[in-house]
Amino acid sequence: MIRWFLRGVTQRRLTTRYPRAEEPAPPGFRARALLDPSATNPRLAWRAAEACLPGALILDHQDRLRLDATRCIGCGLCVEAIEDGPLAIDSGYELASSSRRRLVVGDVAESDTSPAVLDGPFRRSLHIRHVDAGSDGAVEQEIAALLNPYYDMQRLGLFFTASPRHADVLLVTGPVTKPMEEPLRRAYEAMPEPRVVIAAGTDACSGSIWTEPDVLGGVDRVLPVDVYIPGDPPSPIALLHGLLLASGRAREVSAPRWHGRWRSSRENRD
């Protein structure tokens, strides 16, 4: 045991300063796609939508592109399909929002005017119960990674709890398969109020690449979802951000809007 003790105390600090300091993702990290809604070229738009498996990019009735970040798996195939198009890849870790509509770009009823901050009764500590409703297994490992020395979520007052009866947050992964619908509902009903439901991962947010009849297509088909954390899988920082958002200690991200082309074209004019 003394050997373990020595190993434990002789190492430098690994833990991230997040959320007090930013934790940048490595360049080239594929978090989600970004769309410049001002650019319109129906032919390119059609080609990009064709390359999107989960249907995050779809054409509206006027053949304009619309990007739903809760469906995006960050594969980057849309950017590859159209060179020099209105799409880019965002490498940021923070992805969570309390509204699905706020994570959509190109909608007529788009509403990302002022990112709201959840103000709940959970500002100091949060007890989390995780339920897997049909995930691919990677999200569970990212959630478990929150306990490793790099993230150490307990320093932020975040704890896992074994029973839904002690939980403030239901952290749900997976697109909700048929056999998991009932156990998921029962876990939710066992929780005391007030309670928060978080959909963790793109498949939990929207169903992602999975479709009926095997899956219901997202947690919000079964339970009222308070925070959406897209990501395939969401990185530990993305999960921390979502959990902090649920406790009113972080700001929502804005819609996956890309300003790059607009900016560069203006620079050219100058």
Partner: protein, 483 residues
């Protein structure tokens, strides 16, 4: 490309034929849509060959194979559930895939029933014997699966595993979506084995189109596949430390695992290496800085790993829990056609990377152990970590300039088998082409599907407190099993 020896047999003779081949049953499935002529199809590894046995089914029933070939037990129940073809005389024809959501009691056959032997069940009755329905929502951050544990308090009399809570219909999706996007589905069957699933699927597609993968792409594929093996083996180690309440060990191994995911995120752009492997090659290329990063990270990583591992292997409280826990005999591992580290730890010599060679793997020593207990499975993994690091270095050294993807031609063959060795074992995709650019049928078999089949046997006369040690030593993926 895997060469198959095709043989047609009578459905009544399928069991004896399989028995006579005396090989390892890789997969058994039924093809053909309802109404059309259904055909049972078995792929068997016998000696150095892969033999495909085909047997047409009449009147939606046939004599079950399981009584003679136990490894077929889950396959036949799956066929019964999904295609409604009845294997007559199957010792346990309960629902496997399509079952009611939860079960709280065990239904065991009566004493002196032949079916008892198949289950390996020790029948226990009397006051004080009860069943713990554990799952599908389990305490802690785990994937959904249910275990019904029959116990008198300490000794596990019987443990029944119930899976398929997570079935998302991956086989259906792979055929539905455009061919160039199907690999994205394969990557998400078992999210922690994305590379292995993408590889097995790509191998099958490349075989259908008879496309050769460029050498540079092969080397990159090997590097990614071995990196994936590293973090999966680390995951098992982390879980075992957690079970042993070894907090410092848990933190140290979890930090080592995190470093690998960060490396993956930096080189591929995804912490689980998704979006790298595609049919025909790889989507990404590894340039100089990326290779330097891999080399530098892994050299430091290996030193640290060896230091922590040395401490772990001298920690008696850890070893005590694993040695002799959850033994799997060589006979059981063979009868139920286990794969991967689980099979290798029970003395079976198999490794897809060597047996069905792909992507230019060089010759290497497959780690093996003869004890068959939880510790043996861990030791096999520890040795494989070492082998994987060597293989990554070898692949990096063999990177030659050149293209990383070959144009995928039209399909020239009707059907093909693709295989890859994930961290959990042999992963298979059987694909049937529909014309030149589409798929008609897909049967995928993850390693965990085979290894979950022996879950109850591994618990034979074990104690309840060892449950999580034994479970984690098997390193199973419910997501992969359920697909």
């Amino acid at each position: 490309m895997i060469a198959l020896e095709d043989r047609a047999v009578e459905v009544g003779a399928l069991a004896t034929e399989l028995k006579q081949l005396d090989g390892r049953l890789m997969v058994l499935f039924a093809t053909g849509s309802a109404g059309a002529q259904e055909e049972l199809c078995a792929l068997v590894r016998a000696g150095d060959a892969v033999i495909k046995l085909r047997a047409p089914v009449q009147r939606r029933a046939y004599p079950a194979v399981t009584p003679m070939v136990p490894a077929a037990h889950w396959f036949e129940r799956e066929i019964h559930d999904l295609q409604e073809i009845t294997p007559e005389g199957h010792p346990r024809l309960e629902p496997l895939v399509r079952h009611p959501p939860e079960q709280r009691e065990l239904e065991l056959p009566e004493e002196e029933d032949v079916r008892l032997a198949h289950r390996g069940a020790e029948r226990l009755a009397g006051p004080g014997v009860f069943v713990i329905p554990y799952g599908p929502v389990r305490s802690g951050v785990f994937e959904s699966a249910q275990f019904l544990v029959q116990t008198g308090g300490e000794d596990v009399a019987y443990c029944a595993q119930r899976l398929f809570f997570k079935r998302r219909g991956a086989e259906r999706r792979i055929c539905e979506v455009p061919l160039e996007l199907a690999v994205l589905v394969a990557e998400r069957v078992s999210g922690t084995s994305s590379v292995a699933h993408a590889l097995a699927f790509s191998h099958a597609v490349e075989s259908l189109a008879e496309t050769e993968v460029p050498p540079r792409a092969q080397a990159i594929r090997r590097m990614l596949a071995e990196l994936e093996r590293l973090y999966n083996h680390l995951e098992v180690t982390v879980r075992e430390c957690e079970d042993a309440s070894l907090s410092v060990g848990h933190a140290q191994f979890a930090a080592l695992k995190e470093r690998l995911h960060r490396l993956a995120g930096a080189v591929v752009g995804n912490r689980y290496l998704r979006g790298a492997v595609i049919p025909g090659g790889t989507r990404i290329d590894l340039n100089g800085p990326a290779l330097d990063l891999i080399d530098a990270t892994l050299s430091e990583w290996e030193r640290e790993w060896q230091r922590v591992l040395a401490v772990l292997l001298r920690t008696d409280s850890f070893l005590d829990r694993l040695v002799s826990a959850g033994p799997l005999s060589e006979d059981d591992a063979r009868d139920f056609a286990c794969v991967g580290p689980v099979a290798r730890a029970s003395g079976i010599d198999l490794d897809t990377r060597r047996d069905l060679p792909y992507d230019g793997y060089p010759d290497f020593d497959a780690a093996r152990h003869s004890d068959g207990d939880a510790m043996a499975r861990m030791e096999v993994r520890f040795r494989e970590v070492h082998v994987s690091l060597e293989l990554i270095r070898e692949a990096a050294a063999s990177l030659m300039p050149g293209p990383t993807r070959a144009e995928l031609g039209p399909f020239t063959r009707q059907s093909a088998l693709g295989a890859a060795e994930s961290a959990r074992g042999e992963t298979l995709y059987w694909l049937e082409a529909d014309g030149e650019r589409a798929l008609r049928f897909c049967k995928l078999r993850a390693a965990s599907f085979m290894n979950f089949g022996v879950f109850n046997r591994v618990f034979d006369s074990q104690v309840l407190t060892d449950f999580s040690f034994i479970e984690h030593s098997l390193g199973l993926s419910p997501a992969g099993c359920d697909a």
